[in-house]
Amino acid sequence: MANQTVVQLDRVCVAYGDLLVLEDVSLEVSRGEFLAVIGPNGSGKTTLLKVVLGLVRPVRGEVRVFGRAPWQLHSERRRIGYCAQGASVDLIFPVRAGEVVLMGRYGRIGLARRPSGADRAAARRAMERVGVADLADRPIARLSGGQRQRVFLARALASDPELLLLDEPTTGVDVAATESLYELLRALHETGITVVVVSHDVGVVASYADGVACINRRLVAHGRPEEVLASDALEQMYGCEAMFLHHGRVPHIVVEKR
């Protein structure tokens, strides 16, 4: 493969009205990387993902995903799996988990056509991969937070993506389920999938990712987790008061885990 860069952002600026949410962000994600994007609430992390997905257009700067502008992606869309924040959908919608996962294939099936046996098999495989195959007939209203996130992850995997983007996958998921979800991401990453996960779980993320990007409107730091966490990037991002929770602790955790 000539192009090892999967996502490329060059001096990207995004504004909502007069409010600048991302400023001059330049970032590259290579094939096979596991990148964690961290930052405080409202720092533009989610917007960054939406730029990559083509849901938000930058006012300035260049974005390339698989070598194309994200809003010009056609068949490349299926190479991207996306897992939005869990709270973004109606959680008492009358739909079963298996159908939700199958939705991940709808785009590639094409308009006005029915899912084939191969599509159902792919959805089934995705559910087996994340360990929710037995929940296929369960209405989503009757899933726990952790189960629901796995179902959404299976939906993202149903199109066999090469790039997996996750936005706060552990919101509303407790500690044990959080860890097993990250173990799962690690396993997926080991099969060659490029993973970009947005989170504010600094500690957890740092022990799984092999790269960390700190965003607070600007790209504050980008590098290997131990470098970024040892630098003053977190302090810059969160400000002093919040830092007392993290400072001095997080780097130790990284050391212990490794």
Binding site: A84, S144, S159, T171, V175
Partner: protein
């Protein structure tokens, strides 16, 4: 039953059954996507369309089709561009199209007696031509829903994700509000402008109380919609009441019975919880802090 021998009653019953089914199916999307207010807005806009038909001397149902589609797209465009909130856009269109209707009626010399029938529905109002329009439009709406079933479901459930995976979410949204507009037009003869939105929302809302499966919800909504329409029409003949009001009140009665019988609360209690975490390890002390901060 001798009333079934009357041609007008036969037409009304066939039209009623079609309308009950179509309203219920579109209603499922309206209820789940929260489009009830758009439905009501478009229904009121049809008044302008009907009045325009009277003024121009064309079949009011046909003029209402154009009028309602234009209103639906107008609301959709204004709301999508983000200049206004959706409900504000609806509020503006809803009142102005009714105002236009009142203006059109004022322009007519001699007040039209049929107007009351359009506002509240009348079983006597379904002509042979109306029946064909109802059957044609109804079949068209059902065909489009069948064709784009998976796209409509995806966009109703999770529009952002639909777009990301390559489903044209914007176009499907416009398709959906166009279907709502056509459903309104198909129904106004029998249920009336003022009450159409109730026939769209109520059977679907009742069905929602009874199931957690999308297709089952749709099937139940159709059953409730058709039952309300047919028994409402028969009852309105017997009691000599307005057909639209009778149908809607029957559907509402079914809604309340469903809500009382609803297993939803029981289901909510059955939602599983994630296993409690093991005693915190060294790593987790920090997570504990994060977790508490998030709550």
């Amino acid at each position: 039953m001798e009333i079934l021998e009357y041609a007008f009653m036969q037409r009304a019953l066939v039209a009623g059954a079609v309308i009950g089914a179509v309203c219920a199916i579109i209603g499922v999307y309206v209820v789940l996507k929260g489009l009830s207010f758009i439905g009501a807005g478009i229904a009121h806009a049809s008044f302008g369309g009907v009045a325009l038909g009277f003024l121009l001397g064309v079949n009011p149902v046909l003029s209402a089709i154009g009028f309602c589609l234009a209103t639906a797209w107008g609301i959709g465009l204004v709301a999508r561009k983000g200049q206004l909130k959706e409900d504000t856009a609806i509020g503006i269109f809803f009142a102005s199209t009714m105002a236009l209707g009142i203006l059109f009626i004022g322009l007519m010399h001699g007040y039209n007696v049929d107007l009351f029938g359009y506002l509240f529905g009348s079983i006597l109002a379904v002509t042979r031509e109306d029946l064909w329009i109802t059957l044609g439009l109804g079949a068209g709406i059902l065909l489009v829903v069948a064709l784009f079933f998976k796209e409509l479901l995806f966009v109703t459930f999770d529009p952002e994700m639909a777009q990301v995976t390559g489903v044209p979410a914007g176009k499907i949204y416009f398709l959906l509000i166009s279907l709502v507009a056509l459903t309104v037009v198909v129904s106004i003869k029998v249920v009336g402008i003022v009450l159409v939105s109730a026939l769209i929302v109520t059977p679907a809302a009742a069905a929602y109380q009874l199931t957690e499966d999308f297709r089952r919800m749709m099937a139940l909504a159709v059953l409730i919609g058709v039952m309300s329409a047919i028994s409402g029409l028969l009852l309105s003949y017997v009691l000599d009441t307005a057909s639209g009001a009778t149908i809607v009140l029957l559907a509402t009665l079914i809604f309340f019975v469903s809500a009382l019988a609803s297993p939803r609360r029981r289901w909510a209690r059955r939602r599983p919880r994630d296993p409690r975490p093991a005693p915190l390890r060294s790593v987790s002390s920090d997570n504990g802090i994060h977790d508490r901060r998030r709550q």
